[in-house]
Symmetry: C2
């Protein structure tokens, strides 16, 4: 079962305490599709400029990502520059050049219109809704957003959320969206806005999933080397949605396992700059780390 | 099997966004013993001043805590005042009056000398070692410490750690003690100092336990109302040690379950000021919340 994702394909320049990478492949659509491609087929809708090199297109193709929806527009590709301090939890944006992304108004290719699984990456909530309107009866719609839209396009965002099944956002964004400091209370307020499932991403502290069934708490994988957290959230979402689309199951059990697969994918992605770790990743490594997550959390011990 | 704990018994004045409590019962020894008393017998070594009211002594007795080691010295009881902001993760100390605690030099009662389980609460590491030297071949020794001792009495602390099995400290203290920003690397450095087990307390993000068997990640219970985090760490340690002493098992499985019982106890304690929640707590509630922790973390879902 294939997933439709609408998001950005970009050049990132990133500085962390461990090194520096200039004009490397990035963007929410890129991270999401690459991660999801380990589990299912992916249709990517995005725009790049004339400066986007064929090597990146080749990489996406090598992951079997359908690029019918990737258009090239006159001008330059979206560029983002940011830096991280030692805590690695929050990026400082140094520069944003929207370029061709400024006039991004996604028209879905005919073949994408009956998508069952849709991920609306972090773009203008009005565009998210425009895209969603083009899809005929999707089974599962997930979306991301950020403080910029929560502040600047609150009404549009709240309108879009009415049509969304799963919202995946950071803990700070949950608090901001609900205007409530306590995460449990804030989560309830967000669920009242429409989504049946809220996934609260907490970086190195893992994730919480709130549903009608209750709360699921997933750890982050304790890593010795977190090199670059850029794209971790979209990689997480890609593993989550990819797994669900792959197994075609939306039970609470499947959702919990999807959260762990999302966490697994994010834990790999932060080990290297850009999508470098994804390029060498094998499915057997994903299964192995899933088992390590089980050992990490089970109450019954590992010495017996 | 009984536990010996050496720590403070104090008056706390606490301000949180949700209210204010003046001169209420507090102290590391108090929180630890009360929490542990739900699982096993506790022998408390501490000092109070002549102003310590009999109602607090009566409460500790009502929990079957042995107070042979609780001495009354001329002068006033230790007083601490602090406040918390909305994030509730870190207290700002407003006032500390050591009073009788300034000359605390614990001499163990004869009946305590063969203790099997020992908890050295957050006091001067030299005093911790003095106490430990008085005990004849304990089976399990755990201790707490804080930034004040890590900075000010680093050598003494490192010397004490050689004789400790389990160290329970905050994430920031782990980083400070190891002089290492990455928690996984920092944990390994701390294990190299002597303790076989390191419990990293992360407040609302739960706890990590590092041992030779690997890592265990425990969630915090997602609470709608966190009223007062004072004493959460000592209450956690009390549940952890209390459970281990109660079951007399130090396998990895028992240690993991002990971490969850510690988390359960802390989750109750933060629901009200001082030890108010402990006063009404029933063992059945502890078991019930332990089961909720299982549901919170299990991968297999709760809808089947």
């Amino acid at each position: 079962m294939s997933i439709l994702v609408v998001g950005s394909v970009a050049f990132d320049s990133v500085e962390t305490p461990f090194g520096k990478a200039d004009d490397v492949l990035g963007g929410s659509g890129t991270y999401f599709s690459t991660s999801a491609s380990f589990f299912t087929d992916v249709n990517l809708v995005a725009v790049v400029g004339e400066d986007f090199p064929s090597e990146h297109v080749d990489f996406l193709r090598s992951r079997n990502i359908d690029l019918t929806g990737l258009t090239t527009a006159p001008g330059k590709t979206f560029r983002w520059a940011g830096s991280y301090g030692y805590d690695l939890n929050e990026a400082t944006t140094l520069d944003t050049q929207l370029n061709v992304f400024a006039s991004f108004s996604p028209q879905l290719p005919e073949a994408y219109l009956d998508a069952d699984y849709v991920f609306l990456a972090n773009i203008d909530p009005e565009l998210q809704l425009d895209v969603l309107k083009q899809v005929v009866r999707p089974k599962l719609v997930a979306c991301d957003t950020m403080n910029f839209w929560i502040e600047g396009k609150r009404d549009a965002l709240i309108n879009t959320l009415k049509y969304v099944d799963v919202l995946l956002i950071n803990e700070g964004e949950v608090r901001q969206l609900a205007a409530e400091a306590n995460v449990v209370k804030a989560a309830q307020k967000v669920l009242d806005m429409g989504p049946k499932t809220l996934v609260v991403k907490r970086g190195e502290y893992g994730a919480l999933m709130f549903t009608e069934h209750g709360v699921f708490s997933a750890p982050a994988y304790p890593l010795e080397n977190v090199f670059d957290p850029t794209g971790a959230g979209d990689t997480f979402a890609g593993g989550f949605m990819g797994y669900l689309a792959g197994v075609q199951d939306m039970s609470d059990a499947a959702m919990r396992q999807a959260i762990i697969f999302g966490s697994v994918m994010a834990s790999f992605n932060v080990e290297m700059f850009s999508l470098e770790r994804m390029k060498s990743l094998e499915y057997a490594e994903i299964e192995d780390r899933y088992r390590k997550f089980q050992l990490l959390t089970r109450f019954s011990g590992i010495d017996e």
